[in-house]
Amino acid sequence: MIRRLTAVFVALFFATPVMGQNVSGPAKARATTPEIPFDSAPNFLKLPPGLYMGEGTGVATNSKGHVFAFTRSGETRLFEFDQNGTFVKEFGVGSYGFAFAHAVRVDKDDNIWAVDEGTNVIQKFSPDGKLLMVLGKRPDPLEQVTTMPGGGQYSGANRPYSFHRPTDIAWDPQGNIFISDGYGDSRVVKYDKNGRFVKSVGTRGNGPLQFSTPHAIAVDGKGLVYVADRGNSRMVVLDNDLNQKAVWDTIGAPWAVCISQGPHQYIYSSNSFPTGNNFDQASMTGEIYKMELDGTVLGRFGKAGHGSKEFSAVHQMDCRNADEMYLAEITQWRVQKITLHPQTTRATGGR
């Protein structure tokens, strides 16, 4: 009987057309990793009357502490709030490049980059909201009315200047641009700071330099590239020329990744509670890991759920300050501000 039920559940799972949500068990590091105490201010962002958050897919801060929320509302919209959570303005109202938000990042010059997986377009905005650069090309709707492609599944097209459901963006200290692309391709693309194609690596799979839904990306101060290979439940570390350097496979499925600033950088990875709201998975997902850049696990925090201090499909994280984080959640329409109180920085050998 149990076996039959299991078979039914397995069949149900594979019938779900969502990639990268396979949860086969808790992350290997979970049991051995100490918990980090923290507080949460879940209603930190104050929207004016008539404006609503939708699915919180993107969050980032600038050097002044302003918070940018990229949300799938009635339309996909990009909001700016100040450091106190007060609404400041909206970016790119009615833009051709907003259809299905995925991620927002702020570069070292405080420009705001919005990654949209609906239009396959990445927009660079100045702090005052002016469009500075466009990466990618939205498929002409004209083409789609007669030759509609499939549902955005993996194609491996690997085109130099077009994306297929891109997921995230990061920069090295020289301003080179790194893009995780994404659902329809399985690759990392590098451009120079002027948007000129340099190279791309990756095909779909679980071998070296292969990815299964590279869902987020971050670059550290030395220019190393960290790819959240969500479907393979691993973090893949690349050098600046996109050669593979390391694989971390003890931290569950990395949905979101961020690296703190300052002389001692930390990397955070979220083994998010999947979007299906399947609470069978709640006990083995939801936590966020704090690590050294060499992959040493320092601690974890949070658990799956809709409540305060609980995390409901964390989709993007900002950790400009290592102990003050913003979390965008899909299945609870919010951005949580959390403050970590790390008790120890002692490495625990969680790798």
Partner: protein, 368 residues
């Protein structure tokens, strides 16, 4: 021996990919201002044009085209907007909000009387507005039904029929413009456009529609009242044949210049459609323009394709086809060009360039 040397020179020319030609074309110095106008709603700039007062009109693909559901047939609208700016780049107003044919921006041009013409390749329509933005004339017709991606379980043959716009008349798009009933490229009559790309006028006010980059591959001529006169051109690569027409322009003598992009040439005709000459050393002309004034010049953009930063230069030519010089290259920085789809050249040295890749219109000033 002489023959061998000739052969080697030819081989060398092939090996460098024709750059010998490029080297012989002088570079024109220029300034570009990418910041003069800022779109109220960001998107791909398909068309840019000026009127006699220096006002700038931008036809952009912005927002989203929307397909209605719960209707007798799937219908598609919106997705582009027409903006007007003054000569200093200040936003003046939007024109054509909610207009039936505003769908997928392809081009905007201003005629000698300052009327504003938009060419829309989604609705297969050409719409004329007066200088204040009031509707005057429409050529072509939007399909009544537009196939969209079929749902799961729809037999494979059905979406194919839907994609051709099978309308209530059991034909194509209910008479609306998915190319009419003629065979592809058959030089069909009337105004059943298939992805029209541009419009121009002769001195008498006759209208010439570039039709286009779909299957028609012809020029359709209308009176100034909008009544059909004649059509010329077929699909093909021979004289008077076209493969993807991307632009059209007329000079003061009434000669018609057609950007025959797929054949990498500009063909020149008289107003009756009689072939006169061709210009075939300017790459793939994706946008063209004939300047105003007593001494006219032809401009043609060898725009980059969406997957490269190759080419992108704009050529300046005598009307005879002799190249004067070139300027610019493909890229995303200010002063670079990304998939140029429109050139406005009211005077010889003051141009506006509209870019699909970089979502902007740049004011370009050529220097002596």
């Amino acid at each position: 021996m002489k023959r061998i040397i000739t052969f080697m020179v030819a081989a060398a020319a092939v090996a460098v990919g024709g750059s010998l030609v490029a080297q012989s074309v002088p570079e024109i110095n220029y300034d570009a201002n990418a910041d003069l106008i800022s779109l109220p709603s960001y998107g791909e700039v398909a068309g840019v044009a000026t009127n006699s007062r220096g006002n700038v009109f931008v036809y952009a693909r912005t927002g989203h085209a929307v397909a209605t559901l719960g209707d007798e047939r799937t219908f598609y609208h919106g997705g582009s907007r027409l903006f007007q700016f003054d000569q200093n780049g200040k936003f003046v107003k939007e024109i054509g909000q909610g207009v039936y044919a505003i769908n997928f921006a392809q081009q905007v041009r201003v005629d000698p009387q300052d009327n504003i013409w938009v060419v829309d390749s989604g609705s297969n329509s050409v719409v004329k507005f007066d200088p204040d933005g009031r509707f005057l004339l429409v050529l072509g017709r939007k399909g009544e039904n537009i196939g969209v991606r079929p749902g799961a379980g729809v037999p494979a043959s059905v979406p194919d029929a839907a994609a051709r716009g099978a309308g209530p008349e059991g034909g194509r798009g209910g008479g609306g413009g998915r190319g009419g009933s003629g065979n592809p490229g058959a030089g069909i009559n009337g105004d059943s456009f298939n992805r029209p790309s541009d419009v121009t006028w002769d001195r008498a006010g006759n209208v010439y529609v570039a039709d286009g980059f779909g299957t028609n591959n012809r020029i359709a001529k209308f009176t100034k009242e909008g009544n059909f006169v004649k059509t010329f051109g077929h699909t093909g690569s021979g004289t008077g044949q076209f493969n993807q027409i991307r632009g059209i322009a007329a000079d003061a003598a009434g000669n018609i210049y057609v950007a025959d992009a797929g054949n990498k040439r500009i063909q020149v005709f008289d107003g009756e459609g009689t072939f006169k000459s061709q210009i075939a050393n300017v790459g793939t002309p994706q946008a063209i323009c004939v300047s105003g004034g007593s001494s006219q010049y032809l401009y043609a953009s060898n725009s980059n394709d969406p997957e490269s930063m190759d080419h992108g230069e704009i050529y300046k030519l005598q009307l005879s086809g002799q190249i004067v010089g070139k300027f610019g290259k493909a890229g995303k920085l200010p002063k670079e060009f990304g998939m140029v789809n429109a050139i406005d050249c009211r005077t010889e040295n003051d141009l506006w360039v509209g870019e699909v890749w970089n979502w902007r219109a740049q004011k370009v000033t050529l220097k002596k």
